[in-house]
């Protein structure tokens, strides 16, 4: 039995690269800003309170686990009202908008998202007092080997 040399493997990797699909046009940082402004109606956004949890290195961009925690109480008169997620490079900048009431008890939401490429993700929380808070994270999306052509 022969053993693959480093160069052989590199060759395989390069060939696998050619098998990648053509991806559609993507959103731009400007489009993300526009989408954020549509959510905040132009109100200022402060950083803080929000904790956006994403794996720094994801194995497949088709499914990236994301959790958002907002460190703020959930009282009937003072609570987190909404949590929105935005991305820079998918075809569309919006990911999800979660609407919460004080009955959530805690402002923690999780889901799984698609990311076509390494990029910045932004989470923004809207409080019932009308203020907006945010956190962001850079995600590195690695490519699967041996995918279907």
């Amino acid at each position: 039995m022969t053993t693959a040399t480093r160069r052989d493997i590199l060759r395989a990797g390069a060939a696998l690269g050619v098998l990648l699909m053509v991806r559609p046009a993507r959103a731009t940082p400007v489009e993300m800003r526009v989408a954020i402004e549509a959510f905040t109606k132009g109100a200022p956004v402060s950083s803080g309170k929000v904790d956006l949890v994403l794996p720094p290195l994801v194995e497949n961009g088709n499914s990236v686990p994301v959790t958002v925690n907002v460190a703020h109480w959930m009282r009937p008169d003072d609570h987190v009202k909404a949590v929105a997620l935005f991305n820079e490079k998918n075809p569309q900048p919006n990911v999800a908008i979660f609407h919460l009431s004080h009955r959530a008890g805690r402002a923690t939401v999780s889901t799984r998202i698609r990311l076509g490429d390494s990029q910045k993700i932004v989470a923004i929380a809207q409080l019932s007092d009308g203020t907006f808070w945010s956190d962001e994270a850079e995600v590195i999306v690695t490519l699967p080997a041996c995918a279907e052509s």
Binding site: F98, A104, G105, R112, R114, L115
Partner: protein, 111 residues
């Protein structure tokens, strides 16, 4: 009806914050992909998801094509009284589905 996996604790203490998880079988077709014939495959995603607790909405979400196929969503709610938690969602084809779970809330409040 799409296959779903809904996780709501069967019992809780009054005032306890409980976690609700939903895993829904759905292609979440983005509308940005082309089929083998080169034509764009029409978008078909669950765009709206909501949770009611004894009829009152306690959580909802607007979803976009960046949500994965077979979406998974978790959130919390305060167990206030025994009753029914209903999760419902609507996709681009207008299909709406509702799944319900019973929750029994004990008398002793959490400290």
């Amino acid at each position: 009806m799409a296959r779903t996996l809904i996780n709501v604790p069967a019992t809780a203490k009054r005032g306890e914050v409980v976690e609700i998880k939903a895993l829904i079988s759905h292609p979440m077709e983005t509308g940005f992909r082309t089929g083998s014939d080169g034509a764009l495959i029409p978008r078909d995603i669950i765009h709206r998801f909501a949770c009611t607790y004894n009829g009152e909405e306690v959580f909802s979400a607007d979803l976009f094509p960046a949500i994965t196929a077979n979406p998974f969503i978790t959130f919390t709610t305060v167990a206030e009284e025994s009753g029914e938690i209903a999760l419902s969602w609507t996709d681009d084809q207008g299909n709406t589905q509702t799944e319900t779970a019973k929750i029994t809330v004990g008398q002793d409040p959490v400290e």
